[in-house]
């Protein structure tokens, strides 16, 4: 049996279990993730930086760890909370055990705790700061443990993108990902915590991706002579991303087509003049239903966000930053009506809050990469410079027939509004 360990929440609730991975102390924001597969992708997703991730799936580590599935160069979760850790991995691609990997990368975890109780607690009392203490660190008194947690930095107001971003730019080439022939487009992608699968999804479609650090300037962007501009997912509070908002505005002013994912969605929201707010407990899972309002179709999406854009849900509205024209909420969460996507109608820019690159998660939303390519094509050919000429009516059968249905009524506003600033 491994050493005793404790998960300590800032409100004083303590769950006792045993140590998993490295021994020591881990501080961060406790969040739960509901995916039943994809733990390796989860722990290596930079968006989880400074978070202690509770896996709701009870068995973790069953398929070990391999060198193909990691979404970045290292494990980013600050701490890891599981119920039943695998004793032995079993999979033909497995190279080593998750336990060993956590130890090697110094990630402190806890196992044997009631992960469902923790999840319910976080759901009812919102995400909060927490600490995992194992080995000697767990010997402290309850008060000392809670004090240690209270002394840690909250997620709100945290600026983390620069911390997880690469220092040096690099290029992902289409030919390395099954694309035959010359690249169709080149884009500049700002790494705010980018997942490895994102540039791959572009490259597979013939798009050369210049991945640039979070600190890149407009000059850096222009230097790669891009057909389009992309901002990735990433950790931290979007309200702190002033530098990126400024960069995006300057890019939009250049009429360069833009696509953003997750953090990139929040930055577009802010660039357009909307606010962002923190969700009570966020969306973290790979089963999240989102309505694409352009087609009326539901996609099951991979999500990992604790913040969201505060924009009017229905119809086209004028962006508060008026020079960007009209904008509409293109995608919405069917669980709680949170804004899951924005589409500008007068400039070539759109973004989604969720993860079309999947990894982990379903591939339902992969069409968004194609949509961006069409946008770049349209801009290059001078056909359209925005998304408003999309065949909205034809693709909107659901709404056209739904006479008198009126605006969608918010269903589960708990998660959405409680902490709205």
């Amino acid at each position: 049996m491994s050493a005793p360990a404790a998960l300590v929440l800032e409100d004083g609730r303590i769950f006792r279990g045993s140590s998993y991975g490295a021994t020591g102390t881990a501080l961060g924001e406790a969040v739960f993730a509901t995916g039943m597969t994809g733990y390796q992708e989860t722990i290596t997703d930079p968006s989880y930086a400074h978070q202690l991730v509770v896996q709701t799936a009870p068995h973790i580590g069953n398929t070990g760890v391999n060198s193909e599935d990691a979404e970045s160069r290292r494990i980013w979760v600050a701490g890891y909370i599981v119920r039943d850790a695998a004793r032995r991995p079993s999979n033909w691609r497995s190279e080593r055990s998750l336990d060993d990997e956590l130890v090697e990368q110094g990630i402190v975890g806890i196992q044997g705790v009631d992960t469902r109780a923790i999840t319910r607690h976080l759901r009812e009392h919102k995400t909060m700061r927490a600490g995992i203490f194992s080995g000697e660190a767990a010997q402290a008194t309850d008060k000392e443990l809670v004090d240690a947690v209270l002394a840690s930095a909250p997620m709100e107001g945290s600026r983390l993108a620069e911390e997880v971003s690469v220092d040096e730019a690099y290029v992902v080439e289409p030919k390395d990902h099954g694309w035959e022939g010359d690249p169709r487009f080149t884009i500049a992608a700002i790494d705010l915590g980018i997942k490895a699968m994102t540039p791959v999804r572009f490259a597979e479609r013939g798009v050369r991706v210049h991945v640039l650090p979070a600190t890149a300037t407009l000059a850096d962007v222009k230097a790669v002579n891009p057909d389009g501009f992309f901002m990735s997912n990433g950790p931290g509070d979007p309200a702190t991303a002033d530098a990126q908002v400024k960069l995006l505005r300057s890019v939009l002013d250049e009429k360069l087509p833009y696509f953003g994912i997750c953090f990139g969605n929040q930055i577009l929201g802010r660039a357009l003049g909307f606010g962002t707010y923190k969700l009570r407990y966020g969306h973290r899972g790979i089963n999240q239903p989102v309505m694409d309002r352009r087609t009326g179709k539901v996609e099951i999406t991979s999500q990992n966000h604790g913040f969201a854009v505060d924009a009017p849900l229905d119809g086209a509205t004028q962006a508060p930053e008026e020079r960007y024209g009209r904008v509409e909420v293109s995608h919405v969460s069917l669980n709680d009506d949170v804004v899951e996507g924005l589409a500008c109608l007068d400039i070539p820019a759109f973004s989604v809050q969720y993860h079309p690159e999947a990894a982990a998660g379903p591939h339902d939303a992969a069409y968004l990469f194609d949509r961006f390519i069409e946008l770049m094509e349209g801009t290059r050919d001078g056909r359209t410079a925005n998304l408003s000429k999309e065949p909205v009516d034809a693709a909107h059968p659901a709404q056209a027939d739904n006479t008198g249905a009126g605006p969608a009524t918010p269903k589960n506003s708990d998660n959405k509004t409680e902490d709205k600033k």
């Binding site: 039943m36 999979n91 009631d114 319910r120 899972g285 089963n287 069917l334 669980n335």
Partner: protein, 1104 residues
């Protein structure tokens, strides 16, 4: 988009009788469908021949037809009811095949009926193996290499390409009937030969062996807007080679990375789109090569299936209900998730627990059958359990099986046994899990067993973990808190811990509870706690936080019947569900405890709360404790779920739990022979002479005293387990030596066997003062054939008023003498006009649903209310649950006649030589289900029951007759009649001589024992196999004729023609055949029957 407005009425096709491969899960899905259709305001028409279903309760449809599910009969229903649409995707393969036939023969077009839920093109793409291969290819995925063949020559040619072993699967059969693995040419000839017969299209698929690959299944839903969700992934513990219905299965899949899982998901979505299932569910099965990850698509079912029911219970996502809504035009995002209420059904459930399903087999009923598990499903039921990890769920599931030896055995394994266990584990049988676990316990490595079985090393390691914990328990020295916590966390029962620590179960429980180590109850919520759940669907786990909400009223617990098995099936679930419905309606909070995922009772909205738990004393006591601490318990019903809860009655009462209805003391009175004979004496009733033996000497003495033949059986059994008619002393000696475990605690009961007696079954209600006699059933087969396997008729057709009155008086006297409060079932035998009491069961019986359907009175509901103190008088007057006057013994003469017929699974079971097992009926029950035929007169009702049981009687052709000497006299009239009706009579030996002397032209054929002639003239068995005989009538006799008879019956069973083995049934069949040739069948709904019955009762009342 809202639902379609052009549909006003829908015909739902049910799945018919419970058979292996198509069981109670289709009552669960069908019942959900009917509820949805009614809620949506449609006129609902149902056809299902199975009376033991909730869906055939008259209140679930506007017109309920308990009629044979054949294209001809369904056409009559369509012609009469003129529905706008037919929904065939919730009634299993039976419904789907019927719908295809109705489409092919133009009936749907003729009556302008639309097929909803699936279209013919999609069904054919999904089910036709060759077309489906094309689908898979177009989706960029792979199928196993294969050949479709229609003849034996083609099969042999294909074998040259594929090599052995090779999988053989006939097309369009259910539950994998006729499938098998051919290891060599002999196997191939045999399996293909049968497969060509089983397949309605004479089509068989041969394919490369993917034996030993990992097997997975995805449950999918798709709506008309092309939204697709995966409801559940299921992983088979047993690798490819064992039918998924016979495999231990686990949800969610536990040994796939996200990339591999998403690959399966992508393929599934592509396939469902390509096949074109556009408003409903389907499942897709995959195999994955454990060494390389190569994915092969095995098959799909374009309908709601057995796995859908499992997936629904496993996730809380109501597949059948949602599939029905989709078929009406709703889209997934328009349908709310019942459990969270706030989120839509257009999402994918995520689990924070592990679900394990284990099959329950009945090989003990078929001693001649080979217990190798193959691609033909053989299990008769299943148990499911949930836990917060695999080990907890597995151990709970195993104890849910409630079968001797089902739990893992941690007693030490001698080293020498290990190689033997590994060797045995190579062949998949019902014992494999135990062999694997014990080999590991004995020191074998995970690698050794992976090599032998291909069971994934992760699962093997989990068994290893259980073994390690068993050692820790043994070595702990005392019942320490740490040890107990760890043991409970991995599913060890108090009993298992007791066995490992040499303590009694009670001591372990006492210490455990004193240490405060108690299970908590978690909630199945579809979303891993991301949203609040509003449905109290619970499972236990040894974890930190309990989620049972406080309740304001004390609850009433109903203990279910556990996994379906022969002798205790859906009929008992029916009574449990009825009780819950009646009690809720009366304002009580009901709590269902059950572990059978196939059933209606485990649907989360049948009771106020559902606990998906094993039905052992420990698990039930903990549920009661949870209910006690959250609001109190009013009492527990143990009399509805069959023997499973009944045997807990005394222990629950000892633990201070109030038992509602009949008391444990009264139960004991009926079960204990001595006490029961005193009840009979007091009432002036007699039972056949009998005695109780604890040794062979005892048994011999008793048998000599009462005279042979005697009926011998172990005490406390259901379904006639181990029961046998013994004609002489050597056989008695053999029975005692082989068949039973005989000890003072487990005595053998010996009864005089009444030959040529008419058996009578009665279900009644008693409240302490008044009796309501639900129905009197006359068995068609004579006493000696288990009542569950015998056809019976209600009202009785050959019993005089005087007999009925004697039955009535006796029933009342017994109910009163035993002290029944609720239901009682009594079996009588009438021999030489003497009424004998065979046995009394103070509980809901197998026939309660049949009686309820036949008489229009819902007895289990009434029984539940009696358990709360309501009187029969009140049920008649205030509750209107029972008729104001009269009862089931006073049915008017023009009341419809209902025939119940048993459905038997012989064709599923093979001997080691590959022949089907013998189909002779006996005192041991072997039927899996039942059908009902209802009509004005017995002859047509019987004919309908036979057609419904997939045993349609011929109206012309050749009938083979060969009967034992004692029967020759009594068959002449019937055979003569058939001959006069134009049938050709074929016969052998002595029977042929007798027939000819009676002026019946009987064509002689060779006996099996005679073998083929030099000229190549085949035996009767050859003629049967060649399809030249339309019905076999063979009564068994001893000696050579017996084995001759076996070959003949085996031949008839394997090609599926009626095979009658008793004179009584033959006579009924002759009447039925004549009626079939004379009258055209008409169809009448239960509602119409009830209306006309009420009218004639009213008329009778006015006359009186």
């Amino acid at each position: 988009m809202p639902k379609r407005t052009d549909l006003k009425s829908v015909l739902v096709i049910g799945s018919g009788p419970i058979v292996i491969g198509q069981a109670a899960e289709f009552d669960y899905s069908g019942t959900q469908a009917l509820r949805v259709l009614k809620e949506e305001g449609l006129r609902v028409i149902l056809v299902n021949s199975n009376p033991a279903t909730i869906m055939t309760d008259p209140e679930f449809a506007d017109a309920t037809y308990i009629e044979p599910i054949t294209p001809e009969v369904v056409e009559k229903i369509i012609a009469k009811e003129r529905p706008d649409a037919v929904l065939p995707t919730l009634g299993g393969q039976t419904a789907l095949n019927t719908a295809i036939a109705l489409d092919k023969n133009g009936v749907l077009e003729k009556y302008n009926v639309e097929l909803i839920g699936a279209n013919i093109a999609a069904i054919e793409l999904g089910e036709d193996r060759e077309k489906f291969k094309g689908v898979v290819e177009r989706c960029g995925a792979e199928s196993a290499r294969s050949h479709i063949i229609h003849t034996m020559d083609e099969a042999l040619k294909a074998a040259e390409d594929l090599g052995y072993p090779m999988v053989v699967r006939p097309s369009f059969t259910m539950g994998g009937l006729g499938s098998g693995l051919a290891y060599n040419e002999d196997d191939l000839r045999r399996i293909v030969g049968q497969g060509l017969q089983y397949s309605p299209t004479s089509e068989v698929l041969l394919e490369e062996s993917i034996l030993g690959w990992k097997e997975y299944e995805l449950e999918m839903m798709r709506d008309k807007n092309d939204n697709v969700v995966v409801v559940c992934s299921i992983e088979n513990f047993d690798p490819v080679g064992v039918h998924t219905g016979d495999s231990i299965t686990v949800a969610p899949a536990l040994t796939l990375t996200d990339r591999e899982y998403q690959r399966l998901r992508d393929i599934s979505i592509a396939v469902i789109r390509e096949v074109g299932v556009d408003t409903g569910g389907c499942n897709i099965q995959f195999a994955i090569d454990p060494a390389t990850g190569r994915v092969v698509v095995i098959e799909m079912n374009p309908r709601v299936s057995r796995s859908s029911a499992l997936a629904s219970k496993a996730t809380g996502f109501a597949i059948a209900k949602i599939a029905t809504k989709l078929s009406l035009g709703y889209t997934l995002d328009e349908i709310p998730n019942d459990i969270t209420q706030k989120t839509p059904a257009s999402f994918e459930p995520t689990l924070d627990y592990v679900v394990v399903k284990v099959p329950r087999f009945a090989f003990e009923k078929f001693p001649a059958a080979d217990n190798t598990l193959t691609t033909t499903m053989k299990s008769v039921g299943e148990a499911m359990a949930m836990g917060r990890n695999f080990t907890e769920a597995l151990q709970k599931a195993l104890r849910s099986l409630e079968q001797k030896g089902s739990q893992l055995d941690f007693s030490s394994v001698p080293e020498w046994e290990v190689p033997e266990l590994i060797e045995k584990a190579k062949r998949p049988t019902t014992e494999r899990l135990h062999q694997v676990q014990r080999a590991l316990l004995g020191g074998a490595s995970v690698e050794d067993l992976f090599e032998a079985t291909k069971i994934d090393p992760w699962f093997l390691d989990q068994l290893q973990l259980l073994n390690e914990i068993s050692r820790e328990i043994r070595q702990a020295g005392a019942l320490t808190a740490d040890m107990l916590k760890r043991a409970k966390r991995h599913g060890f029962s108090d009993e298992q811990i007791g066995a490992l620590t040499h303590n009694s179960e009670a001591v372990v429980r006492g210490v455990r509870q004193a240490l405060g180590i108690r299970p908590v109850y978690k909630t199945v919520d579809t979303c891993a706690a991301e949203f609040a759940a509003y449905t109290p669907y619970h499972y236990s786990a040894y974890d930190e936080e309990d989620e049972v909400a406080l309740h304001s009223k004390p609850s009433i617990l109903i203990l279910g019947s556990g996994p379906n098995r022969i002798g205790q099936g859906i009929e008992f679930d029916y009574s449990c569900v009825h009780a819950s419905m009646a009690l809720r309606k009366a304002g009580y909070e009901t709590v269902m405890v059950n572990c059978n995922p196939e059933t209606v009772s485990t649907d989360y909205d049948i009771s106020t709360r559902l606990y998906f738990e094993p039905l052992t004393l420990e698990d039930v006591l903990e549920v009661i404790a949870a209910e006690e601490r959250t609001g109190g318990v009013m009492g527990v019903f143990v009399q509805l779920g069959g023997q499973t809860p009944l045997k807990l009655a005394q222990q629950l009462a000892d633990a201070g739990v109030p038992i509602l209805g009949t008391s444990p003391e009264a139960i004991d009175l009926a079960e204990h022979r001595g006490a029961f004979s005193r009840v009979l004496d007091k009432a002036g009733l007699i039972s056949p002479k009998n005695g109780t033996a604890v040794s062979f000497e005892d048994a011999k003495k008793i048998a000599d005293e009462i005279g042979y033949p005697v009926l011998v059986r172990p005490s406390y059994v259901l379904g006639g387990r181990g029961m046998e008619i013994v004609y002489d002393e050597p056989n008695l000696s053999r029975y005692i030596a082989n068949a039973t475990e005989i000890t003072p605690d487990h005595p053998v009961l010996i009864d005089r066997f009444l030959e040529d007696a008419v058996e009578i079954d009665v279900d009644a209600l008693f409240d302490g003062t008044d009796m309501y006699l639900g129905g009197i059933m006359e068995h068609i087969e004579e006493a000696g054939i288990h009542s569950g396997d015998s056809a019976c008729v209600l009202p009785p057709i050959t019993l005089g008023t005087n007999v009925l009155e004697r039955v009535r008086t006796a029933t009342r006297a017994i109910a009163e003498g035993v002290g029944v409060r609720g239901l009682i079932n009594i079996q009588f035998a009438l021999a030489s006009d003497v009424l004998y009491v065979l046995e009394a069961n103070p509980r809901a019986s197998r026939t309660v649903p049949f009686v309820s359907k036949a008489t229009g009175v819902q007895m289990a509901k009434a029984a539940a209310l009696i358990g709360t103190g309501v009187t029969i008088g009140q049920l008649r007057s205030a509750y209107k649950m029972l008729p104001e006057v009269g009862d089931g013994s006073t049915l008017p003469l023009d009341a419809p006649v209902s025939v119940k017929e048993a459905v038997l699974p012989f064709s599923r079971f093979r001997t080691l030589e590959g022949k089907v097992v013998d189909s002779l009926l006996g005192p041991e029950m072997r039927s899996t289900g039942e059908v009902m035929g209802i009509d004005k007169h017995f002859d047509t009702a019987f004919a309908k029951s036979q057609a419904a049981a997939n045993n349609a009687l011929p109206t012309e052709g050749k009938i083979f007759v060969s009967v034992a000497n004692r029967d020759k006299r009594s068959v002449i009239m019937g055979v003569k009649r058939l001959s006069d009706l134009g049938f050709e009579i074929v016969s052998t030996g002595g029977t042929a001589d007798v027939l000819r002397r009676n002026g019946i032209q009987a064509t002689p054929v060779r006996k099996v024992a005679e073998g083929s002639s030099a000229e190549g003239e085949g035996t009767i068995a050859d003629l049967v196999i060649a399809g030249e005989i339309d019905m076999v009538f063979n009564t068994p006799s001893g000696g050579e004729a017996r084995s001759d008879g076996y070959e003949l019956r085996a031949a008839a069973t394997s090609i599926g023609i009626p095979c009658i083995t008793t004179v009584a049934e033959f006579n009924a069949a002759v009447q039925a055949i004549e009626a079939m040739r004379t009258y055209e069948w008409s169809v009448t709904s239960l509602q119409e029957h009830a209306a006309s019955l009420a009218e004639s009762q009213k008329a009778a009342l006015q006359r009186a």
